[in-house]
């Protein structure tokens, strides 16, 4: 009674065909990524050493290490996170939990999605005008980080809203029905069940800005500084900027140094991603409904 009919067989073949087709598409996707990583490791790997990571550059950037750029990138991403997280989360909570579903809210949501597509060079110009000149921060970590923060706000809001909306509506209604206010409901059921998703989503998005060059180039990143930043009003070197400079403007720069710098930068981003993804997987294991 379980013999395959012709129709069964054909369905099975078609299903196999699609599986192979989609699998190949995935391969095509993976190949360039793997190649990039492979080349970086092969060509940049030999440059990586304690000295490379933890000493100051010397002799017109051609010798020594990348310490100030590494530290600078951490400063920039850290301060950008501090600025964008509270604002982004608050805005996302408002849009997801309070705002009525009308044309204005829909318009704002659409604008946020579009903002995420604004080229980073445009954000750079905004940052120069708003933070360097108007706010008077000068070219500094603060100005550069705020520029990065503005640039990442849309993705922070979208990531947060997605986490909030993953909490079923029925939980909110059950709470409201007992006479809880909106805020009590957010505090009691919505946030506790989304905060980890929110944080990992944000880290994932914001760590990508570590690779941005344009927004920091005019707002606070320097080609070379012989000291580490001491505060947010200092200028700083940054990995992305450093890579840009040694790839374009320094004659006689060793290939190894260029690839080594790129490898450090991409490792930093991948490390942050890996951390937040494994945190997410860990949380998914503890499903609450």
């Amino acid at each position: 009674m379980f013999e395959a009919t012709n129709l069964n067989r054909r369905n099975h073949q078609i299903q196999w065909l699609f599986k192979v087709l989609f699998g190949m598409m995935t391969l095509i996707l993976i190949v360039p990524v793997a190649l990039i990583l492979g080349v970086l490791v092969a060509k940049g790997g030999p440059a990586i050493s304690m000295e490379f990571l933890f000493s100051m550059p010397r002799n017109g950037l051609t010798e020594g290490g990348i310490l100030p750029a590494l530290i600078g990138t951490m400063w920039l991403v850290g301060v950008a996170l501090l600025a964008s997280v509270p604002v982004g989360i608050a805005a996302a909570i408002y849009l997801s939990e309070y705002a009525p579903d009308n044309w204005l809210t829909r318009g704002i949501n659409l604008a946020i999605i579009n903002l995420a597509g604004v080229p980073s060079i445009v954000h750079a110009l905004f940052g120069v005008g708003a933070f360097v000149v108007f706010a008077g921060f000068g070219a500094s970590i603060l100005a550069a980080s705020l520029t990065l923060a503005v640039m990442t706000l849309p993705v922070v809001i979208v990531a947060t809203r997605e986490s909030l909306q993953a909490v079923p509506m029925a939980f909110r209604e059950a709470c409201w029905n007992m006479g809880a206010t909106r805020w009590q409901t957010i505090r009691i059921v919505v946030l506790p069940n989304s905060v980890s998703g929110i944080l990992t989503g944000i880290i994932l998005e914001v760590s990508r800005t570590a690779g941005e060059t344009a927004p920091i180039m005019f707002t606070g990143a320097a080609m070379f500084l012989p000291f580490l930043p001491q505060g947010v009003l200092d200028q700083t070197m940054a990995l992305s900027m450093h890579l840009f400079v040694i790839s374009n403007s320094i004659p006689g720069m060793s290939e190894e140094f260029k690839y080594g710098t790129a490898l450090v930068l991409i490792s930093l981003v991948l490390l942050m991603n890996a951390l937040s993804i494994s945190f997410r997987v860990y949380l998914r294991g503890k499903k609450k409904w």
């Binding site: 009308n102 029925a170 059950a174 007992m178 006479g179 506790p192 409904w289």
Partner: protein, 254 residues
């Protein structure tokens, strides 16, 4: 015979979802300390009726309510403090919702919202409400387990316990026994008969026999209209005003 106290007075209640009218002008009184049954075929507006009583149109921009609902001497659409209103009304809807927190916290939530902090007082409320909802014996050893991971029938009883923990004046039950086994259902029905001393209960049910067992008076809804409301025994055995009521309770349509 003394005239019964009216707990809830509904006048010309209309409910629409978008353009679609779901309840078209219902007027009725619910008396204090009675179990008021509502029966009617699918889509007749029973759930919508209950939603309006708890001002749930505020959760759904599509839902529009007009008419008058007088509860505790006030037209509820004028009550600014809807939170106090909802605290006085316990609701149990057919899809059970165990909140993603411990069983204990599920039941302690409403008292905590009211400001009860004392551990002993909370313990007492949790045990009393879970017992009344016929759930205590099953969960007393795992009060720390997640309420949202209980079985469907357990979550339904947890929802009942939560509604009771509000210490409500009015209890709205919408097909509360849909996922509960018959024996447990009987236990809860017994509790409802006792609760009647303290609470007014509106019981929506698709099981006409449940209305017959429990309700003092029963209303028959059809296509968003109130066909008739009468003493339950009259509705089921006596002289009904409308032939459609007779047909429905005898299972000839619906």
């Amino acid at each position: 015979m003394v005239a019964p106290t009216v707990k809830l007075a509904v006048r010309d209640l209309r409910i629409a979802y978008g353009e679609e009218e779901a309840v078209s002008g219902i007027s009725l009184d619910v008396h204090a300390n009675e179990i008021f049954g509502i029966i009617g075929p699918a889509g007749s507006g029973k759930t919508s009726f209950l939603r309006a009583l708890n001002r749930m149109e505020m959760f759904n921009d599509d839902m529009h309510v007009s008419g008058e609902i007088v509860f505790g001497g006030r037209d509820i659409s004028d009550i600014r403090n809807v939170y106090a209103l909802r605290q006085k009304i316990g609701v149990v809807f057919p899809l059970p919702v165990g909140l993603p927190m411990s069983v204990y916290d599920n039941v302690a939530l409403s008292p905590r919202l009211r400001g009860v902090k004392n551990k002993a007082a909370l313990d007492e409320i949790v045990e009393r409400c879970l017992t009344r909802a016929a759930l205590w014996d099953e969960v007393k050893d795992r009060l720390k387990a997640l309420g949202s991971l209980l079985s469907g029938g357990q979550q339904q009883r947890l929802t009942i316990a939560r509604a009771l923990s509000q210490d409500p004046e009015l209890l709205l039950l919408d097909e509360f026994s849909i996922a509960v086994d018959p024996v447990t259902t009987m236990r809860i029905e017994d509790v409802l008969r006792e609760l009647k001393e303290e609470v007014t209960i509106i019981l929506v049910t698709n099981l006409v026999q449940q209305a017959r067992r429990l309700a003092d008076r029963t209303a028959f809804f059809l296509s968003g209209e109130l066909v008739e409301v009468a003493e339950t025994e009259v509705l089921f055995t006596g002289e009904v005003k409308d032939q459609r009521t007779r047909d429905y309770v005898e299972g000839r349509f619906g």
